[in-house]
């Protein structure tokens, strides 16, 4: 997966793996909220991050039914939080193209793009789909 270069030094990384089931999305949301709370984000910015992560997980669940888990990596810097959300739908490589289109056009991704500062996603038939999004303090 291509991970964009960072301009800020990392102060910590947190990895979370959840089952790819609707009832676990709230866990991802609350965990990432707790991480975002360690940065000097406003309450509104933390709500934005919570919703963006939930939308990313929901997209993984809806676009890749039957997958076992979703990996969420939070790279924490002094004034930014980069979150990578990955599913592992690599067994259906022929489905990668339609999934990429669905991913970019869904309401969930539209919301993510509106709430986060940088958003990009990669669909790789060999390793799955990765959404990378960054929120900066005060942006």
């Amino acid at each position: 997966m291509n991970v964009p270069a960072r301009s800020e030094a990392l102060v910590g990384t947190v990895d979370l793996r959840i089952p790819s089931e609707p009832e676990w999305v709230a866990v991802a949301r609350l965990a990432v909220s707790a991480i975002a709370n360690r940065l000097p984000f406003s309450v509104e910015e933390i709500e934005d991050v919570k919703l963006a992560v939930a939308e990313a997980c929901t997209t993984c669940i809806q676009d890749s039914p039957g997958e076992h888990f979703i990996d969420i990596t939070c790279d924490v810097a002094e004034r930014s939080l980069r979150i990578r959300v990955r599913d592992h739908a690599f067994e259906r490589s022929e489905a990668a193209r339609p999934r990429a289109v669905a991913f970019s056009e869904g309401l969930g991704v539209f919301i993510i793009q509106a709430l986060m500062d940088d958003v990009e996603y990669n669909v790789d038939p060999k390793s799955g789909t990765e959404l990378v999004m960054t929120k900066r303090v005060g942006s």
Binding site: A26, E44, E47, L51, G106, L107, G108, I111, L115
Partner: protein, 114 residues
């Protein structure tokens, strides 16, 4: 995680659906079932009260859009009650403020149905 759904009859064949808690990919099917059951019973003028909703995502918005589409086929409408700034923001960025009537209180939302 919790979602509370309360349905009650109001004036002029209108119904109020009062929601509370968090509406996401896990809880939105319960909300959808309650609203679609009302529509299936022939009630096409609805007020959906989101005052006690702490969180809503795109699946919740999808339920509301689906309900509006269904009632409009029968000449009805869905008005929302919402004052939570974070939730209003989601309606703003998705452009749904232009589609739904969004009111600060239930009385105004019901009045606008008439």
């Amino acid at each position: 995680m919790d979602i509370k759904v309360q349905v009650r009859a109001s004036d002029h064949d209108a119904y109020v659906v009062e929601l509370g808690g968090e509406i996401d990919v896990y809880t939105s099917p319960k909300v959808k079932d309650a609203i679609m059951e009302l529509i299936d019973r022939g009630h096409y003028n609805l007020v959906i009260n989101l005052e006690k909703v702490r969180y809503i995502d795109s699946t919740g918005l999808g339920v509301l859009i689906g309900a509006l589409k269904r009632v409009r086929e029968h000449g009805g409408t869905v008005n929302l009650v919402c004052t939570n700034p974070q939730i209003k923001k989601i309606f703003d960025i998705t452009g749904l403020v232009k589609i739904f009537g969004i009111y600060d209180n239930e009385q105004d939302a019901k009045k606008a149905l008439a």
